[in-house]
Symmetry: C2
Subunit: 214 residues, 2 copies
DNA sequence: AACAAAATAGTACGACCGTTCGGATCTGTC
DNA sequence: GACAGATCCGAACGGTCGTACTATTTTGTT
């Protein structure tokens, strides 16, 4: 079966082009979180990577395609480092907690010097229609659905009270996360993490089924 | 006393320059909330106002000065339409509530088609040092202090419980507001306002002195 | 080793950027 | 109504932007 598994997995060493393409996107992602998606410039990107503008540009047919590819990579990474690991955690409140904690960790990941790109894009693109905005909205919607879904499971497991509005729960989580970014990145508040953790604990408290304590 | 009051008030009809300057800033404020502070362009601004680029530019010595002036105007307007009216409301929980409600209303004010400029600037400038960022931080800090101060008063009035962490309260309010902007502007969620109101009510519930209900 | 294809570089383009400067036009004051 | 200063315009500067084209080099396959 060795040959079959090889054919099925088909790792197929990435070609040179795919390699540099990946490298470009990785660097662009870090850059975009810091200087924004509009502020991101092909010239600057090429300079950083010691490439020619045109050589870099050839990998993407337009700047918009580049932006979309960056967001695609960011979305995949987020699923990989936040959602997937949380699915390995027991259903119910533990998983909800894992989602939230990994989300904050992702937001502070060293590979994202400017924080979660979707957070930044949320406010940068909220008034600028187009496919980039659409992609961000879709991704955020998926994320909120993931949160709400995890809460729903916690309700079914009897961890959270039955009457809980799971969409409201997801909304409130988003608020805590946004306030966390606000406090840590803009205000440079050293207590930012403690504040977010405290807010989340209070939120959980309120969601638990009656008579249920940690 | 008529003459004295005249001298004291000193309305002094605004000169032509001051008029257009004000008009420029008013329009620039609306524009900046939509397309961002970096995206804001002197050429575009001049075109909108049917002025020459250089004529407009002459009112501000640089683009940075223009950005600062825009934010100064926004800050003044926010104090005028959010903070000041709330100070006319009875101390304690009513005033806290007034602050929050007027804040949401300000965020949706028709003169701010892109929403509160400080919200947008929070995420746009969080990684770009300079006087503009500093100004935003200072303004946001003042706002959070106002919120925390109002909560402190509510504690002293016996409306809120004595052990309340007022800074955490302000932080949580900020989260609710950010989530509101996120839901209404980006996600276009028609329930955005209801979600924010619900979150705020729950927050208040938790803050009240024991045995105190609405 | 040869050759087609893929990847990168070079150069140029029109558009717009923030800014400067000298001159035209307008305002307010005597 | 003249004069000074405020206000505004037009043209131009050096730069950078995204993108298009054509070469040149590198890669992968036979």
């Amino acid at each position: 079966m060795a040959t079959a598994s090889k054919a099925a997995a088909r790792p197929r060493a990435p070609s040179k082009g795919e390699q540099t393409r990946e490298a470009i996107l990785a660097h662009a992602l870090g850059l975009a979180t810091r200087i924004g998606f509009e502020g991101l410039t092909i010239g600057r990107l090429a300079e950083d990577l010691r490439m020619s503008k045109s050589g870099l540009f050839a990998h993407f047919r337009s700047k918009e395609a580049l932006q979309l590819d960056i967001l695609r990579m960011a979305g995949a990474r987020m699923v990989e480092s936040v959602v997937k690991p949380a699915l390995a955690v027991p259903r119910g409140e533990p998983r909800v907690r894992a989602l939230f904690e990994r989300w904050l960790a992702w937001e502070q990941s060293p590979s994202l010097p400017g924080g979660c790109p979707f957070m930044a894009a949320s406010f940068e693109l909220d008034d600028r229609p187009g496919p980039v905005r659409d992609f961000v909205v879709q991704n955020l919607r998926d994320w909120m659905d993931t949160l709400a879904g995890a809460a729903r499971i916690a309700v079914n497991e009897g961890h959270f009270r039955a009457a809980l509005d799971c969409e409201q729960f997801a909304h409130d989580c988003q608020g805590i996360g946004l306030a966390f970014v606000h406090a840590s990145r803009l205000m440079r508040d050293p207590k930012a993490y403690a504040r977010a953790a405290s807010a989340f604990e209070t939120l959980l408290q309120r969601c638990r089924a009656p008579g249920r304590r940690r």
